[in-house]
Symmetry: C2
Subunit: 244 residues, 2 copies
Amino acid sequence: MDEVELSEAEFLAGYDPGAYPGVGLTADIVALTLIDAELCVLLIKRGGHPFKGCWALPGGFVNVDESSVQAATRELAEETGVELFHLEQLGTYDTPGRDPRMRVASVAYLAVLPEAVGATGDDDAVAAEWWPVGELDELELAFDHARIIADGVERISAKLEYTALATSFLRAPFTMGELRRVYEAIWVRTLHAANFRRKVLSAAGFVVPAGQTRSVGRGARVETFCAGAAVVLYPPIVREVHQS
Amino acid sequence: MDEVELSEAEFLAGYDPGAYPGVGLTADIVALTLIDAELCVLLIKRGGHPFKGCWALPGGFVNVDESSVQAATRELAEETGVELFHLEQLGTYDTPGRDPRMRVASVAYLAVLPEAVGATGDDDAVAAEWWPVGELDELELAFDHARIIADGVERISAKLEYTALATSFLRAPFTMGELRRVYEAIWVRTLHAANFRRKVLSAAGFVVPAGQTRSVGRGARVETFCAGAAVVLYPPIVREVHQS
DNA sequence: TAAATAGTGTCTCTAAGACACTATCAT
DNA sequence: ATGATAGTGTCTTAGAGACACTATTTA
């Protein structure tokens, strides 16, 4: 077949991209935040087929000139009005048949937003709402989104141990108690306040004192902190899985 | 537009998949093994354009009726002749322009194989070879494969700490020294043999005694072990990043 | 003044890291 | 015999978890 040796330019000029059947590429976002000390995920009520009326992750098709991470950033900014948030790739879901319309590969992203971000449905959706992850069993979720959300929650739960991600759930300045409640909400357990404080302060660069105090509840005025420069925590804030 | 309310079946019957421009979906594999106490990655010398003559990760287009993980499994089995190996999704790389032929989203997989697996080039390739990851600077790598390999090596390095993945590099039964050399090769450092043994044995389910001994080098006969049932290690085998 | 919050002191116990030592066997 | 390997004993130090206690301020 290839009797004549082609240069790369000549090869590309004669190349027909249509020879391979393409798949749809979408970016879906597991956006997490804390509302009233509960871990919540942003969901959209689908207004069109398929899975009409079910709840689904925000997301959509990736444009030809953008990457999936750019698509995820764009979609989430449209949906929440927030410009700054933590975003990382969660995984790709591409089982044949997961979308009844066509072959679709969905690159899922995990986003972490500070509390009290408004959710406003855009044109495609009839409603966007934050749902506590503990109450998703009662919901009909579209596609394989239940699995994607579960993977996202597991990821965030694990990353709290060895990264400074918890601060992404908060606005600076925050108190040590607020930071502790991030961990408690996600790990669904109570933590020892005194030991937690010591562990956080001993993790270099996790938080830095904001130099202010704040009155909280009916307790004494308490110190506030801002996120430090550390991305990875050492020593980690270990989840005490193996308690007695 | 949508004046008549359609059922999902009616909607799907009238749906045109060609309305969305599809992208090429490929599965690429970062296959790692240990050869002579060096971490090596399987590479294919490309016989065709683009990047003709460069080294690339094994992989290829995902068939319409298979998932990307099935495609990765198939490709790697063809390439190495091995049926059993650890395989996990590494991430998806879909920046526009990363493949000059067309828009391609590549789902990268990380595979771990025991030593001494033959590499045999298949039809598409002129050569398949294991390359030490420390020597990749001297190689011309195709596409963004250098980045993908770097991500894979980082992933395996991190997962050695808290998972039992190291045993996937070995065939049972193995000695404690062989297991230690897996860690030493990947972390590029020496470990304290006595403390390493204690840590491995204290991680529940990491290894189980094979009940045999073996003569190794000019030392005494040593105990051998098999992989245990544990996937996650507790306590973890910590990389002593923060040594004095 | 009572309750709720943050924050400190300190005790116990476990585990990590270091080092010395023993055991065994190929060369 | 020597040297290389596995494997044990044990010491020091750091950190986790638990508990008691203090401090402060609002309801």
